[in-house]
Symmetry: C2
Subunit: 137 residues, 2 copies
């Protein structure tokens, strides 16, 4: 996945275009939400997600709705101690697409890390390998 | 630099807020431009930058102006074979701030890579170390 891209020359047209950085996922508050959910595969209730992402109620609701409508996030409702609860979880396809986005983000990090004096190519490759393993599972 | 952040618990308030993802740098076309320039410390002429980032003339001009006004990018003019040339280069402070942004981007990658089955913590740490070394130089 994306292995051809890794071999492109630094002078190739569009080499730094990063077309995989989809606006839907790249926007910071949505990136926050998706990363939180990726780190909590069992899902997170609305208030925990709000706290972890440091978002307002309104903004979190809006972003969750966008992510739900585009199929990235599942929203579950329940009642706990007589209070309505909302649970958010990454969907299976959402998780897959988000990991692909993260692999592109890593390419950016790698391009920049690899450009500096003293950064070893082996170091820059290591996290990429970790994400590739995740994508393969 | 940012080493305290690495030790925060995954349940800490704002743990996934990623406040270092400044809008100015995070927007995709500007991220493209900055990454290209980071990979070419000697600078790039306008047309090469346009080709590498797959941007239109208008968009590239606008983004360069924004990056120049905020001190990230230096713009140099010259005449080459009777044609005006524009050279863009990362400023020293722009390079430093951009590497800090990249370190935050890496934290996102690390948070997500570390969350999956099979990703070793050592792998996820390796690229971070590379960026930290760059920041220290």
């Amino acid at each position: 996945m994306g292995s051809n891209k890794d071999k492109t020359s630094p002078k190739e047209p569009g080499r730094f275009a990063y077309e995989g950085l989809e606006r839907l996922l790249h926007e910071r508050s949505r990136l926050s939400i998706l990363s939180s959910l990726a780190a909590h595969p069992q899902g997170l209730v609305f208030n925990d997600l709000k706290m972890l992402c440091a978002l307002t109620d309104g903004n979190l609701s809006r972003q969750i709705q966008i992510l739900q409508e585009s199929g990235f996030v599942e929203v579950w409702k329940s009642v706990h101690r007589k209070r309505p609860q909302t649970l958010c979880r990454l969907s299976a396809s959402g998780r897959k697409k988000f990991l692909e986005y993260i692999a592109e983000l890593e390419r950016v990090v790698q391009d920049v890390s690899g450009a500096g004096v003293g950064a070893s190519a082996a170091d820059a490759q290591a996290t990429t390998s970790a994400v590739k393993r995740l994508l393969a599972t």
